[in-house]
């Protein structure tokens, strides 16, 4: 069969959601941020909530997320997305409100904000992109950097005696009474992407049921920061991140 007979509108089975704008994403080739943007956009499209969703972008590589998903956005100071989300959701309870934050933004400078928003049980969604590094500023150590992991600021590998231990933020917020759904996902292959998408959809649905905060960690890559090719970075993540940051639901009530 000729290719031209296959490539016809009626045979289309998958394409870019119109919720993603036509802007070319500034992310490095193969970056997990792009995949997660896409699945958030698809969830919003499938739920039909484009006019009812407000995203809060962080400081970090995803600061420009508002250029890519065609919804309303706010852009927060570093680590303060949960505070903006708190106000936004309390003032607009009919809106779906989510934050999108890296591990430098959420686990380091914004650690206090996220703990208290989760502890108050704000009816928001927190999407936590854990790439174990500060991507935007050149690959410095983050609270989530693994022991032994080489970064710009741990050139001989992270040492517990010098740098402390990697933090499992997701397990910590699961212990707080205010959270209703806490899960850790990834996005490196089709099955993982589909699971992560389901988790994000569930988190969005929860935010309208007065159940408290939904927290979705996506174990991610920063192949530029890790100095690997995108494909090798995904492999490194599977081999090194997954044993420590174990995938799956941690809390669901």
């Amino acid at each position: 069969m000729d290719i031209k007979d296959i490539i016809k509108p009626e045979n289309k089975v998958y394409g870019k959601t119109p919720l993603l704008t036509d802007a070319v994403m500034h992310y490095c080739p193969g970056c997990t941020h792009g995949v997660v943007h896409k699945i958030i956009a698809e969830v919003i499209e499938e739920m039909g909530i484009q006019d009812k969703t407000i995203g809060i972008s962080p400081v970090g590589c995803a600061v420009l997320a508002y250029n890519y998903i065609d919804i309303d956005w706010e852009q927060s100071a570093h680590g303060r997305a949960p505070a903006l989300a708190t106000a936004t959701k309390r003032l607009n309870p009919e809106k779906y409100v989510f934050t999108y934050q890296g591990d430098g933004d959420l686990a380091s400078i914004g650690c206090g904000e996220v703990m208290h928003a989760c502890n108050r049980g704000e009816n928001i969604v927190i999407i936590f992109i854990n790439n174990a590094i500060y991507g935007m500023t050149g690959g410095q150590m983050a609270p989530t950097t693994l022991l032994g992991q080489v970064t710009a600021t741990t050139p001989y590998g992270r040492r517990a005696d010098l740098n402390g231990y990697p933090m499992k933020i997701t397990e910590i917020v699961a212990q707080l009474e205010g959270t209703c759904y806490v899960t850790r996902q990834s996005a490196q292959n089709p099955a993982a992407v589909r699971k992560a998408k389901k988790a994000i959809r569930k988190a969005f649905e929860n935010s309208m049921m007065n159940k408290g905060t939904s927290f979705v960690e996506i174990v991610s890559t920063c192949n530029s920061g890790w100095k690997l090719t995108p494909v090798k970075a995904n492999k490194w993540m599977e081999e090194n991140m997954f044993p420590f940051y174990q995938l799956g639901d941690i809390k669901d009530r």
């Binding site: 998958y14 394409g15 792009g34 896409k38 089709p190 494909v231």
Partner: protein, 73 residues
């Protein structure tokens, strides 16, 4: 029932990351020898006869530049 697929890549937006290639179960995709306007070798259907239209490549593409078509034959 047998199926046949095909993909269309928005080559000017493709960044040549190769994540699609790693996730294609039928070895359909490869990077081009030429580069696009940004200097990236872009994804092409190197073995178009292999494609089953499973959508794996498009599902993992970080830049959402792959459209997938499928027909039953």
């Amino acid at each position: 029932m047998a199926v046949k697929g095909a993909i269309v890549v928005d080559i000017e937006k493709c960044k040549g990351c190769s994540v699609c290639i790693a996730n294609c179960p039928t070895n359909t995709i490869a990077l081009s020898n030429e580069v696009n306007g940004k200097g990236f070798n872009f994804a092409i259907m190197a073995n178009p006869d292999n494609c089953t239209g499973c959508t794996n490549c498009a599902t993992v593409c970080p830049d959402a530049v792959i459209t997938v078509y499928r027909v039953k034959i």
